[in-house]
């Protein structure tokens, strides 16, 4: 029974949501919207599980004095500081401390991590330039043509390269993306089908 009931729930909810796509009636829309709302609410409960795992791993590290355990204290301090100020009944997310945590810790860290992307993309471009196979060279050549066309320093250069770049983006690019997307569509449908029919049940774990 431990496995049958979940599989039954998957089958019923999956079948309902699949059929709902073809039923425009307001009643079916209502149930659809309810179910989406429900998954969001369940998600919030799941966050508690996440926080639990977080605290568990951090405290275990501190207790066992494993490498870099000191930083786990920082992580826990950040976590509990934010929770206390955020959930506290003296203002919640509008409170002075919560806003400061957000504006002076989260925002700059987020912006900086995002800006690192520019550096990593430079190193990735460098890596691409050391193409070591025929296929990698094809990728590189196409990348170079597009980069020449869209370089921010000089703007468009010569007519043949510009038109070749536009043509690559409009035609071979479109064809390959279409092939990938059709393949993905089939794969997704197959996987969804396996899940609904209970063939794919890894996510339920063992007994």
């Amino acid at each position: 029974m431990k496995k049958e009931i979940p599989l039954f729930i998957v089958f019923i909810t999956g079948l309902f949501m699949a059929v709902q796509f073809f039923v425009p009636h307001a009643k079916s829309e209502w149930v659809y919207e309810y179910m989406l709302d429900w998954t969001i609410i369940i998600g919030v409960f799941a966050l508690a599980l996440g926080i639990w795992s977080f605290v568990r791993v951090a405290t275990n590290k501190i207790r066992r004095k494993s490498e870099n355990w000191q930083y786990s204290i920082v992580a826990l301090a950040g976590l509990f500081g934010m929770i206390i100020f955020g959930l506290g009944f003296w203002g919640g997310v509008e409170s002075y401390m919560f806003r400061n945590f957000f504006n002076f810790v989260m925002v700059p860290l987020h912006a900086t991590m995002f800006s690192l992307l520019a550096f990593f993309i430079a190193s990735a471009a460098f890596r691409a330039f050391r193409a070591h196979s025929l296929l990698a060279s094809v990728l590189l050549l196409s990348a170079i043509i597009i980069m020449i066309r869209f370089n921010p320093f000089l703007g468009p250069l010569s007519e043949p390269i510009d038109s070749l770049a536009s043509w690559i983006l409009n035609f071979p690019n479109m064809a390959a993306k279409r092939a990938i997307v059709i393949g993905i569509g089939l794969g997704m449908v197959a996987t969804a089908l396996k899940v609904i029919l209970g063939i794919e049940r890894t996510y339920l774990g063992g007994d």
Binding site: K2, L7, I9, T13, G14, M17, A18, F21, M35, D37, I41, I42, V44, F45, L47, A48, N68, Y71, G78, L79, G86, F101, N103, F104, L109, T112, M113, L116, A118, I121, V138, L139, S142, A143, I144, I145, I146, P152, E159, P160, S163, A165, S166, W167, P172, N173, M174, A175, A176, R178, A179, V181, I182, G185, M188, A192, L193, I196, L204, G205
Partner: protein, 272 residues
């Protein structure tokens, strides 16, 4: 602790304090000394975290570890707090309980929506994982989420990713055929000549078909089938290159924009 580490730490601490003092003295529009001190600290702290993250590009170091752990802790709690206020207090409580609405000072919707008792029940079932014996019952909630979304994806992807893409590939391979003379009259890729129109349609059709052939799993890629598959992977690689080049240039444009701002607007070096 190594001597170099101590020196670096000392320098960082001194710089931090110097910046704190400077930012406190130059803090705009504050009512009290305490406010100025707080403002000075917060701005300096934000700058410190920024540099700490940047330092990862050189190598892993204690400052990065500090910033990283703080970031992770704060952001995990942020998501939880936001979920609590916007989803539970904002969406769930007004539909199920007048008492809870009173506690959190939100408006009650006026009627008890019994349907909204189900998600908290499933949520609590999910939390049963934390008890050593109740783990199995948490799967009911997982089953609900996975089933719902699998069903959601099944027909919807067949529509957007599949049928519409197929019908978009029904292209005429002989566009307004008027003989070979007309066909070869304009060969430039940017021109709207017949050669280009036919070539482009041919590339799309053959690209889609051979791209799909590349994704065949249960047939050996040999002979004509293998050639088609190789042509498919070539088209895929051209696309990946194009997409890569395009993104690289997009990001570099952003960087150039920031540098131009620094040089021009701030330091006045470029145009003056």
């Amino acid at each position: 602790m190594r001597k170099s580490t101590m020196i670096v730490t000392l320098v960082v601490v001194l710089l931090f304090i110097a910046s704190w003092i400077f930012k406190t003295m130059t803090a705009p529009e504050v009512d009290s000394t305490f406010d100025a001190l707080t403002q000075g600290f917060l701005v300096t702290f934000a700058a410190f975290l920024t540099l700490a993250i940047m330092s990862f590009l050189y190598q892993d170091n204690p400052f990065y570890k500090f910033a990283e752990h703080l970031y992770v802790g704060v952001s995990a709690a942020y998501a939880m707090t936001l979920g609590f206020w916007s989803t539970l207090v904002g969406n769930l409580f007004p539909r199920v309980s007048e008492t809870l609405c009173g506690w959190f000072q939100v408006e009650f919707s006026g009627q008890h929506d019994w349907q909204f008792l189900i998600p908290p029940i499933l949520g609590i079932l999910l939390l049963m994982r934390l008890s050593p014996k109740g783990g199995w019952i948490s799967r009911w909630a997982l089953a609900f989420i996975v089933g719902t979304t699998a069903g959601l994806n099944l027909p919807r992807f067949l529509r957007s990713d599949f049928i519409e893409q197929i019908s978009g590939t029904f292209l005429p391979l002989l566009v307004d055929w008027e003989g070979f003379g007309h066909f070869f009259s304009n060969l430039s890729l940017s021109a709207s000549g017949q050669f280009v129109a036919i070539l482009s349609n041919f590339v799309i059709v053959s690209g889609v078909i051979c791209g799909l052939i590349y994704f065949f799993f249960s047939k050996e890629h040999k002979g004509a089938f293998g050639s088609a598959s190789r042509y498919g992977i070539w088209i895929l690689m051209i696309t990946f290159g194009a997409s890569f080049g395009y993104t690289v240039m997009g990001r570099i444009s952003l960087l150039v924009g920031r540098l131009t701002f620094l040089m021009d607007d701030w330091l006045g070096i470029i145009s003056g």
